[in-house]
Symmetry: C2
Subunit: 484 residues, 2 copies
């Protein structure tokens, strides 16, 4: 067991946990968002970040190391005093600059020792962030280099500082899984899924989910996972549902400088807003015209404050949804922020088997909220369960809701023994207007029951199921249609 991370609540692959940061003598409740503080240009004073809900922050040790004034101050005062922030400080290493500019002038032992010396609470080695779509050979070669550097990091004296073990592998899921296994085998502490920023910038949320899911398959449940560079609140619920615990955001500040306004349903530009579609203190005490009339520093600061408010409210919403067992419901809503987020959710549901393995057996009421709900892990689990049930020799399965002597067929789950009707998840709230995907899923449940009980005589009574649902039924099931 990794002692620095404890999972408290679980929902699908999402979890609320507690990351212990020994050097800061603090714990961080996850999923957590770490605002990125640019040591040259803090948009919001770091001492104020806790007001918004920040428990920890992240800054770039490479920038500090490369600037004589900052370096001397950091070594002299320590990062906490320099930034005016008491909580845990994570430092990045320059890997991002390596990816952007092709080279940097520090190596892993040097930057880790520097991070330790300036008082960082979580440090980062210099890994190689292989970009998406790299050919397999390049990705594998660079991954070997990253793995070597993690070994160097393990050997470096970092004191009480936690050290991250970035997981690379570009868009090759098997390499990500292998990288994750190797990283997890070290004694390093926190596991960033690296080099996803280009995917996030291109709205390739399905590929982000694939990268995270592949990494998660190589990590133990006690591994805290950081999605490096994910700072837009529209992505938090989906990324948390894929099993990410930590996010970092420069977006709140970078977007503010460009007049951009973050919401959980996407980005808006101040120039286009008539009213502020938000309840935060900035938006309830200002109108867009006020900000447009303000001087640039004031406008940037207020937009950054809104962006932080919107981001931390979403982080709290994600944590609360996990505690309540309603994370999928939140993802359903967020997937409607952009068609590519829907792609991300659809990609996540491709991993229903894996999600099911960590999903609690009982949660708050299952809500059927879209055709995608038919693919939730709870539906697959019910289907598996059907195979283990004892059934009578002759059994009527009733999809019409009118027969007392039958097992009800509940879309999207399928047949339900009457004794289980009021248990999770089949006591679901479902729409009165049922869709074909729910009926197809229910038909698959019937098929699963039939396959596990070849000797039972099963009759399905339905009231107008579509052809594709009927096509999912095996020949062994007798089908009767009843007028609705």
């Amino acid at each position: 067991m990794r002692e620095v991370f404890e999972v408290r609540d679980q929902d699908g692959a999402g979890r609320v946990g507690e990351l212990t940061v020994p050097r800061a003598d603090a714990t961080v409740r996850t999923p957590a968002l770490l605002p990125v503080v640019n040591p040259n240009l803090p948009t919001v004073d770091p001492s104020r970040l806790p007001e918004f809900g920040a428990q920890a922050l992240i800054t770039n040790s490479y920038i500090i190391h490369g600037n004589e004034g900052l370096r001397e101050r950091a070594l002299d005062e320590g990062l906490h005093e320099m930034l005016g922030f008491d909580g845990p400080i994570m430092t990045d290493s320059g890997s991002f600059q390596l990816a952007e500019y092709g080279e940097i002038d520090v190596d892993t032992p040097e930057i880790l020792r520097f991070q330790r010396d300036v008082g960082a609470d979580v440090g980062t080695p210099v890994d190689i962030p292989t970009p998406p779509d790299a050919d397999r050979e390049t990705a594998a070669r660079e991954l070997r280099e990253t793995t070597d550097r993690l070994a160097v990091a393990e050997e470096t004296d970092t004191g009480e500082m936690l050290v991250t073990a970035p997981v690379q592998g570009s868009t090759h899921p098997d390499l990500r899984t292998e990288a994750a296994r190797d990283a997890y085998a070290t004694d390093l502490d926190v596991f960033p899924v690296g080099a996803v920023v280009p995917l996030l910038n291109d709205y390739r949320y399905d590929d982000v989910v694939e990268a995270v899911a592949a990494a998660k398959r190589g990590l133990g449940a006690d591994a805290p996972v950081h999605l490096f560079g994910a700072g837009h609140p529209m992505t938090f619920a989906l990324a948390a549902a894929a099993g990410c615990d930590l996010f970092d955001s420069a977006a709140y500040a970078l977007y503010a400088r460009d007049g951009r306004y973050l919401t959980v349903r996407g980005t808006k530009h101040l120039d286009d807003l008539t009213e502020f579609p938000c309840a935060c203190p900035v938006c309830t005490s200002h109108a867009p015209d006020d900000l447009r009339a303000a001087d640039e520093d004031e406008r940037t600061r207020l937009l950054a404050e809104h962006n932080l408010n919107a981001s931390f409210a979403e982080i709290r919403r994600v944590r609360e949804a996990i505690v309540e067992g309603r994370l999928f419901d939140l993802v359903e809503a967020r997937a409607r922020g952009h068609p590519r987020l829907l792609d991300g959710y659809r990609a996540l549901l491709d991993h229903a088997d894996w999600l099911e393995a960590s999903d609690p057996a009982s949660k708050d009421t299952f809500f059927y909220l879209s055709a995608e709900s038919a693919r939730r892990p709870e539906v697959a689990r019910h289907r598996d369960r059907l195979a283990r049930l004892v059934v009578p020799d002759e059994l009527c399965l009733d999809a019409t809701g009118t027969r007392d002597d039958a097992w009800p067929v509940v879309p999207p789950f399928g047949p339900v023994p009457p004794a289980l009707r009021e248990t999770y998840p089949v006591n679901a709230e479902t729409p009165r207007r049922v869709d074909g995907d729910a009926q197809v899923a229910a038909a698959r449940g019937v098929a699963a029951l039939a396959a596990a009980h070849p000797d039972a005589a099963l009759t399905l009574v339905h009231d107008g199921w579509p052809a594709r649902a009927l096509a999912a039924l095996p020949d062994a099931v007798t089908v009767e249609e009843q007028d609705s």
Copy 2:
């Protein structure tokens, strides 16, 4: 034209408008939420309501009329001074009490004159709020009584006060439409869709949409429509998309007294919250534990303030979405708050023909966000447009995205002439992971093109469309499958 209401922006049946209230010398930007102020027990001081975004409020003239102390004060000081609120004040008449308790002791002329005398800016006659599921005969008989009372209201001297003309009809759509036509034929000003509270309480959002759509079909575009008793922010986007302009809410206060916390995704109870999933000033400066520890008045007031913040932020979000032409996207997200809201959205899409009639021809990018998006009015409109296009004698329709010499087939729209490819709505953002409903809708587009051009030789090339999409194609279309 009704001069008191002007539509400024339109999106589907939703609109941003301006309601002029002559007696208050004020205008109200719609959709607007009018907090209900209980004259006996104001939870939040009415003078503070503008802080939250309230432009107008509603109070119950029947309660004031029935209480000697309040009645004398109201007649003496006027409602505005008595409540400490400068903006427009709408008054209800006791119809709700009539529905709840079976009788009241005022009639329409008396209560309208009283409302006028206490300075109400918008008054309400005593209509008969027939509950849902009433038999047709009862609903029709009570409707005749309501219609008679509207005639009485027209004859009553109400001065500059606007007067509402409630639209009843229970759950009989044809009666609602008839009631709306009759109401619209009067010279009354504002049109509440009445007696929907029992539907809202039972989460029968599809029936609410049916009632509103039926009423709207009988009203002109210049009729401001009030959804009486709709005060939960989870319903605003859907109701606005159905064409409602005004909402009123006692929920903010009633729920607060019961420890309930409103969100756009449903109601939570303070006892169950670990953190506040909200960015409002109450939620960013308090934790749930703080409120649980507060005394009851303080707790109720703070919860009511949160409820107002959450409600008015959603109202601004709805208005902003209409201005941007993105109201359907917001409804897509909100429909994922509860399966019954999805029913409401599905019911609304049953009226795509009617929505299409008022939907602007060009808006911001169409987002495909769920199988429901395939039923949006823009999809139906594109299909109609296909029938009017000139096509070559031989035409290849390409659903694979690989052929330059063909018309692309864009799910959910169908075939698109290359010259229109970059125009609204077919320049849509769609998921990379296409679903069957989008393909079926596209196949219907192909069928529409074929039906309108029986002499053209059409070939469809697809890469793995499901059987149900292929089944939607007419025999006249040659189908080729290409490996993807």
